[in-house]
Structures are given as structure tokens and as C-alpha cells.
């Protein structure tokens, strides 16, 4: 088997295990940073609560993204992997469910709230920013991570972009309807927005030189840069705060408290940090940030 140095370097950078296989891409299949969480075996909940219902049903339905490296990305087998997925595993474990008992459903940006309202999923863990408008129709546990909007540019930063103010007159790519796009539209109206439906298309456009910058939450950009480190780079100066929460049905305060407790516990016992190191942290190569403060509103 011959692996060019470039592929090898990239593969090593993401922590892939290189073993004998016949195509460069084949090795991706072995890139499974398995992270098992100890399942609570004697979990009991008061009858009538959501926790009891889920534990009895033996299945936790989780809405997640499958196209965001580091947080929620379907691997070659189609199974989602990432920090969001690890959060779901931690919650499932507290409910007495193993990770095989989690049913993942892709949530497209346009339908995250209806997903919860229609009871199609129990929780949404999908790089879901907590904001007041959303709080009117769903409730949030967490935050379990605080991201920030950042900018990705071509390698070497030919345009010399260091912050959002430099975007004036530049073509900037983002996703239609997303919070970062909305932020640029309102606060930096001189930037020319190019809006796709997924970020991978933005990365393509930046590689092709069709746009001069891509903007969204730093963690999403980091995942994109990881794939093409010799073509793309991150400016690395977040200019907003995006607290990621776990969405659940409005008014289910018991369930919200339960998830908040679970999250706090995971902050303390190190499983949160472990989850970070094996997913998003493996991409950035940076240690886990300080744990966020749970907002029990």
C-alpha cells in the first residue's frame, strides 16, 4: 500500500489509525475514536416524567446534524460522530440507555423547532444556539459549549482579513437562514453575502476563489479547515458568543433540570472533557476549554 505523504499527514493530524488497506480513503473506516460512557444500570425515575417514559421505551430519539465535522458528522458507515453525539451518549447513559439505544435523526436547520414541537425527537443536540426567539417555542438545557462566530479564508489570508470589519466589499459565504448570516446582514451590511444551504459548498467556493471568506461558528470552520489545511485557514478571532444548548419540549421543566444536572455532572467527572478530546479537540488539537455555566432560567 502506498500512501502519499500529504494524505498521511492529514490522516495523522486527525488521529486516524493507519493500517493495511487498499485505498487512501479506506483507512477512514478505521478512524473510530471509540468513546464509551458508563451506562447507569439502576436508573429509576418518578412515573409520569419524560425520563421514565424514555427509559421505559428503551430508546432516546436525538435530533442532530450529520454534516458538521467535530460536532455531528456521519462517518463512512453513516453513523454520526462528534461532540454533540457524545453529549447525547452522556444523557442516554444517565437514562440507563446504551449508545445502541439512541436513534439519531438528521435535523436540517429549517426544521429544528418543529421537530421538538411535533414530538419527533426527545432532544435536539445540533450546534443549536440558545436565543430568546427560540426560547419562545422550545426550552433549552445547557449551554454545554460556547462557540463564537469566526471567519475562514484561503491559506495565507491573501485579503488580510482579521475581523468582521474587514469584510466590507468582500464576498462572504454562509448558509441561508443561519444566525451568522443574519449577523453579517444586520451588523456588517457592506459585506456581500453568498448564501448556500450547507457549509461544505462554501468551502468549495473558497477553494475555487469564488468567495473571499466564509463565516460561521468557529467550531464548524475548524472542522472544514482540518480537511484542507494547505488550502484554508481560520482567522481565529471569534466576534460573537454562541451558547449551544440542548433543545427540548417547551415546559418540560423536570426533563430540563435532569439534563442540566447530567451536564453539570459530566463537567465535574471529566466525561465532558473526555468527549471533547476525542471529537472536536482531536481536530483542533487544543485542550478542552473551561466548562460553561449552566443557565437554569
Amino acid at each position: 500500500m502506498r500512501i502519499s505523504t500529504r494524505y498521511a499527514a492529514v490522516a495523522l493530524a486527525v488521529g486516524a489509525v493507519l493500517t493495511g488497506c487498499s485505498s487512501e480513503a479506506g483507512e477512514a473506516a478505521n478512524d473510530a475514536a471509540e468513546n464509551t460512557v458508563a451506562v447507569e444500570t439502576d436508573a429509576t425515575f418518578a412515573a409520569g416524567t419524560t425520563m421514565a417514559r424514555i427509559a421505559d421505551a428503551g430508546e432516546l430519539r436525538v435530533g442532530t446534524k450529520i454534516d458538521q465535522p467535530g460536532f455531528g458528522l456521519a462517518n463512512a458507515e453513516g453513523t454520526p460522530e462528534g461532540f454533540d453525539v457524545e453529549m447525547a451518549k452522556i444523557i442516554a447513559a444517565k437514562l440507563g440507555l446504551s449508545e445502541d439505544q439512541i436513534v439519531f435523526q438528521e435535523t436540517v436547520s429549517a426544521n429544528r423547532e418543529p421537530f421538538i414541537q411535533n414530538d419527533q425527537v426527545d432532544i435536539v443536540v445540533a450546534t443549536y444556539t440558545i436565543n430568546d426567539k427560540r426560547k419562545e417555542i422550545v426550552d433549552f438545557a445547557g449551554p454545554y459549549y460556547v462557540a463564537g462566530q469566526d471567519i475562514m479564508v484561503a491559506k495565507g489570508n491573501p485579503e488580510g482579513i482579521t475581523g468582521p470589519d474587514d469584510l466590507a466589499g468582500k464576498t462572504v459565504c454562509s448558509v441561508e437562514g443561519s444566525t451568522p448570516a443574519e449577523n453579517i446582514r444586520t451588523n456588517y451590511p457592506q459585506a456581500q453575502l453568498v448564501l448556500y444551504d450547507v457549509y461544505s459548498k462554501c468551502a468549495d467556493d473558497l477553494r475555487n476563489g469564488n468567495v473571499q471568506a466564509v463565516t460561521t461558528d468557529n467550531v464548524i470552520l475548524t472542522g472544514l479547515v482540518a480537511g484542507s489545511p494547505d488550502q484554508l485557514e481560520l482567522v481565529g478571532a471569534p466576534f460573537t458568543e454562541e451558547p449551544y444548548g440542548i433543545g427540548l419540549k417547551k415546559g418540560d421543566d423536570d426533563f430540563r433540570t435532569f439534563i442540566n444536572d447530567t451536564l453539570e455532572e459530566s463537567f465535574e467527572d471529566g466525561s465532558w472533557e473526555q468527549a471533547w478530546d476525542s471529537t472536536a479537540g482531536a481536530i483542533t488539537g487544543e485542550p478542552a476549554p473551561a466548562t460553561p455555566t449552566i443557565d437554569r432560567y
Binding site: 480513503a25 458528522l73 463512512a76 453513516g78 438528521e106 436540517v108 429549517a110 468549495d204 480537511g227
Partner: protein, 300 residues
């Protein structure tokens, strides 16, 4: 006007030579363009066998995923096809009803679902039916959206087909003492379906392709799976495999759709040979009965 051969003479020796030269020049031009495209692809390293091997290497799990996704695509399309053909036939009969209280609502249903973009229809089925107590999985919502849209298109195709059946057929059936529903179900609809077969299949091909709109509600059909694989490999190798994966998915669609069309041609030839149906073979339709040609292509 079949074959359209009346439009030109059988070419003589000079015309044949001219045509041959023209054909060769044209072929050279096309080949030149293809070669140019291949050369540019090659110089951008897109023809590197290592890049294409991902489509066939089981270790990458790509062939397994794409085939499984093809099965998912075919499943949802099959449900949509059967349901929309059956409902489409019923709606066509309803629209031809003598009773206004049946005809009017059926017409409204057909016109409405034909006019709404399928993307919006699928999204609506997924997000709003649960609000009125009908729980839908992505599979169910996609199948339902495809059915609602295609049944209304097919209803119009069938209606045109029924209208194109020679009036004598219905008259003879009434003469034999058949009731209206008998005339419809035993005489008109079977002939209409046979006659509209090419159009019907063209529409089923559209249905199959439209199943790719399932991405909007997270149904992992062929195209969405290809994109998901692209996104995964993007996170490891940049855009190394992007082009190859999309070409692979596109070829799978073309292959399945061409097979479907060929199957239809086969069925058509077989029914055309059947003595019982010779009277209804499309070739014998008197010079473009407007109602028939009126719908011959289905929609896009």
C-alpha cells in the same frame, strides 16, 4: 407522421458524401471537446485512478453505502409509484365524472398539487401533518409528498389517455349493456394505461429523480448519501473525492432510469404485438388527437 422520414428524400450519392463529411467533422468536434474536457480534468488530477478507486473499494465503505442508498431511493420511489398510479387513475375517473360534486373537488385537488413545488410539499407533509395528529417518518413524508404531486400529474395523463380512446369503444360497451363504472374499468382505463405507457414511464422516471428532494427532511436517499460521504471525506482529505462521488451517484441515477425506460419500451413492444390491443396502438391514433398529444410528455 411517424419516423418523420417524409421530411427528406433518400439521399443520393453526393448528399450522402456531404452528410458523411459533416458527420465526421461533427464527431471530431464533439470528440475534440470531450478530449479537451478530459485533458483539463487530467491536469487537475481528477482522473487519478486513486481518486476513482474509492467508488469500488469496499474498505472505504463507499460502494456499500451507495448501494444501500440506492435501495432506499428505490423503496420510497416504488411506494410513490404504485400509490400515485392507483390514485392518479381514480382521480382521472373522478375528473371525468358526470356529477359536478365529484368533478369539481377532484379538479381542485389535481390543480393544487400540480402547482405547488414538490420541495415545499414534502417539507409541509413532514412538519405539519404531525400537528393534526398524523405522525410521519421521513420515509412516510417523502412517499406522501411524491404521491400527492405525481398522482395529480398522472391523473391528467390518464384523463388525456381516456379521452383519446376511440368513442366507438365506449359506445359498443354501453351497447352491450355495461354500466358506466364497467365501461371505465374494463374498457377505457386499460386501453388508456396501455396507450399512455411511454408518458407514464417518463413521469415515473421524474418521480424517481425527485426522491432526491428527500434531503430537505433528512431522508438518506442516494444523492444525500453521496453528499454525506463527500462531507465526511472532506473533513479528512479536503475536496479530493468530491467530484468522483458525485459522478458515481449521477451514473447510478442514469443507469437505473435508462433501465426503467428500456423496460417500458419492452412492455410497449409486447403489448403492441398483442392482437387484442392493435386497435389501440398509439400509431393508429388519428393525426394527433389534441387531447392525446396534449399530455404526451408528462412534466419535468
Amino acid at each position: 407522421m411517424n419516423g418523420a422520414r417524409v421530411l427528406f428524400d433518400v439521399p443520393g450519392p453526393r448528399a450522402r458524401r456531404r452528410q458523411r463529411i459533416g458527420s465526421i467533422l461533427g464527431a471530431l468536434l464533439v470528440l475534440g471537446l470531450v478530449a479537451l474536457a478530459l485533458w483539463r480534468l487530467g491536469s487537475n488530477q481528477q482522473l487519478d485512478p486513486n481518486r476513482w478507486s474509492i467508488l469500488f473499494d469496499p474498505a472505504s465503505n463507499v460502494p456499500q453505502r451507495l448501494l444501500a442508498a440506492l435501495v432506499d431511493t428505490l423503496q420510497v420511489a416504488a411506494v410513490g409509484m404504485v400509490a400515485s398510479v392507483v390514485l392518479g387513475a381514480l382521480l382521472a375517473v373522478g375528473r371525468l365524472s358526470d356529477h359536478w360534486w365529484l368533478r369539481v373537488p377532484v379538479t381542485v385537488v389535481i390543480e393544487f398539487f400540480r402547482a405547488v413545488p414538490l420541495l415545499v410539499l414534502i417539507l409541509f407533509c413532514f412538519l405539519y401533518l404531525p400537528k393534526v395528529g398524523i405522525s410521519t417518518s421521513p420515509f412516510g413524508a417523502l412517499a406522501l409528498g411524491l404521491t400527492l404531486y405525481n398522482m395529480s400529474v398522472l391523473a391528467e395523463i390518464f384523463r388525456a389517455g381516456i379521452n383519446s380512446v376511440d368513442r366507438g369503444q365506449a359506445e359498443a360497451a354501453y351497447g352491450l349493456g355495461m354500466r358506466k363504472w364497467q365501461v371505465m374499468s374494463f374498457i377505457l382505463v386499460p386501453q388508456a394505461v396501455r396507450r399512455m405507457l411511454p408518458v407514464l414511464v417518463a413521469q415515473l422516471v421524474v418521480l424517481l429523480k425527485d426522491s432526491s428532494l428527500g434531503f430537505i427532511i433528512g431522508y438518506m436517499e442516494l444523492l444525500r448519501t453521496a453528499r454525506s460521504l463527500v462531507e465526511y471525506f472532506n473533513s479528512l482529505y479536503g475536496d479530493t473525492y468530491t467530484f468522483q462521488l458525485y459522478v458515481g451517484a449521477a451514473l447510478m441515477y442514469i443507469l437505473v432510469n435508462v433501465l426503467l425506460s428500456q423496460l417500458a419500451k419492452l412492455v410497449e413492444r409486447r403489448t403492441a404485438q398483442n392482437v387484442k390491443t392493435t386497435g389501440t396502438a398509439p400509431l393508429d391514433v388519428p393525426g394527433g388527437v389534441p387531447a392525446l398529444t396534449g399530455q404526451v410528455t408528462g412534466t419535468v
